[in-house]
Amino acid sequence: MTFLQPNTLPELAQCLGEMSAPDCHLIAGCTDFLAKRNNTAWDARLLISLVNLPELQDIHLDNNVLSIGAACTHSQVEEHLLVRQYFPALAAACGNVGSKQVRNRGTVGGSVGNASPAGDIYPVLLVLGAQGVVLNSKESVRRLPMEELVSPQGKLTLAEDEAITAFELPLPGPDNCNAFVKLGEQAHVTIAKITLAVSLTLREGKTEQVRLALGAVARRAFLARSAAALEGQPLSRDLLPAFFAALSAEIEASIPNRPSMPYKRQAVKGLADDLLAALMDQAQAK
């Protein structure tokens, strides 16, 4: 087995040139990678570890775009002041992934890259209009919107010599509210059964430009049509019946034959209520 640990982006590009499937892996916090492999005998042809690469662990603001390195841990993102100020949805999602130990080690790039249908980070980046920055072995860089980074079947779309190096999030205006809520079996250390992420603008007390994502339902979190139930309205708990009905119908239509569908179409009511509460708290604080 070859183990490579690049320290700079050019070194990473060079390492990516060695990637040829099968059994070649990019690894970082290993909270998914080893959780899957421990307790079995495993081997790999090549491991490229991204944990000693400062450029991938950096969060910085440039031209009203917040760049979050792919190897930033969930804890690092959750605690970052600019993330908390502009992207409470992302702080909330990062702050409730797994346990403290998982948040201290697992990375946001790993969460998106593993493309679990129940991943907490992807739906948030989706509603925030983030782009993935992708580097290849020839050192060229391209940017992909979240919809293109992961296929509807829930697979990362990158070529084998490519890696996500960062996520770029355009800073929202002062009237933006964004929130993330999650339903699992317990309050903490839990895998999502349903997640909702939303980003919207409040203009003269009414909602506009609502982007809503429904996660842990289909194979990939998706932008939900139920956003329409929140569009052009004053933010209030009165929106709940229509919002719940829309979400419920959308879940039914998305996964008609899934055994968990009857549960999810009902359980989303509590989550919809939590989301409205989070949005109203933010709107009041503005």
């Binding site: 640990q5 080893l34 491991l47 944990v51 346990s99 403290k100 080690r105």
Partner: protein, 158 residues
């Protein structure tokens, strides 16, 4: 590969297979058996250690990834054979039954108190929610952490 890192305050350099897990490096190569393996998949918290002062699962870190980093295990808390304040608080509050989860509980506590010396009860519960106690002594564990935090704050003031 030769891996250079800091273990309980001392620089170490060892020839290790890069894919060997930190829990195995600690227990087999350094004979530090405080960190325990139970689930091996980052669920139970028994193997918790500090990596650069942050609580992480030693079953989910590879030896090759240790280069240049700092590892602290439960053995690193007892300087010169004297138990530290958190360890003593766990004993005083009988926050230990079978003891298997205890090193992980204490290292999660250490990670929390390094970052937040005055945590609320909710913050303590969240910080320890990744450490499972089969004997179910959580009430005493919570009391021990609150007491240890208080004692550490008093030491810091003095």
């Amino acid at each position: 590969m030769i891996v250079n890192f800091t273990l309980n305050g001392r620089p170490v350099s060892r020839d290790l297979p890069p894919q060997k897990r930190l829990i195995d490096v600690l227990r087999e190569d350094f004979l530090l058996t405080g960190a325990k393996e139970s689930c091996g998949e980052g669920e139970c918290g028994a193997c918790t250690i500090l990596l650069d002062d942050k609580a992480v699962h030693s079953c989910l870190v590879l030896a090759g990834q240790l280069e240049g980093h700092r590892v602290t295990t439960i053995e690193g808390l007892a300087e010169n054979g004297e138990l530290d304040i958190i360890q003593n608080a766990f004993i005083e509050h009988v926050a230990i039954q079978c003891g298997f989860c205890t090193p992980g509980m204490i290292m999660s506590t250490k990670g929390l108190l390094l970052q937040n010396p005055d945590p609320t009860e909710e913050e303590i519960r969240i910080a320890l929610s990744g450490n499972i106690c089969r004997c179910s002594g959580y009430v005493q564990i919570l009391a021990a952490v609150q007491d240890a935090a208080k004692q550490l704050r008093e030491v810091a003031k003095a």
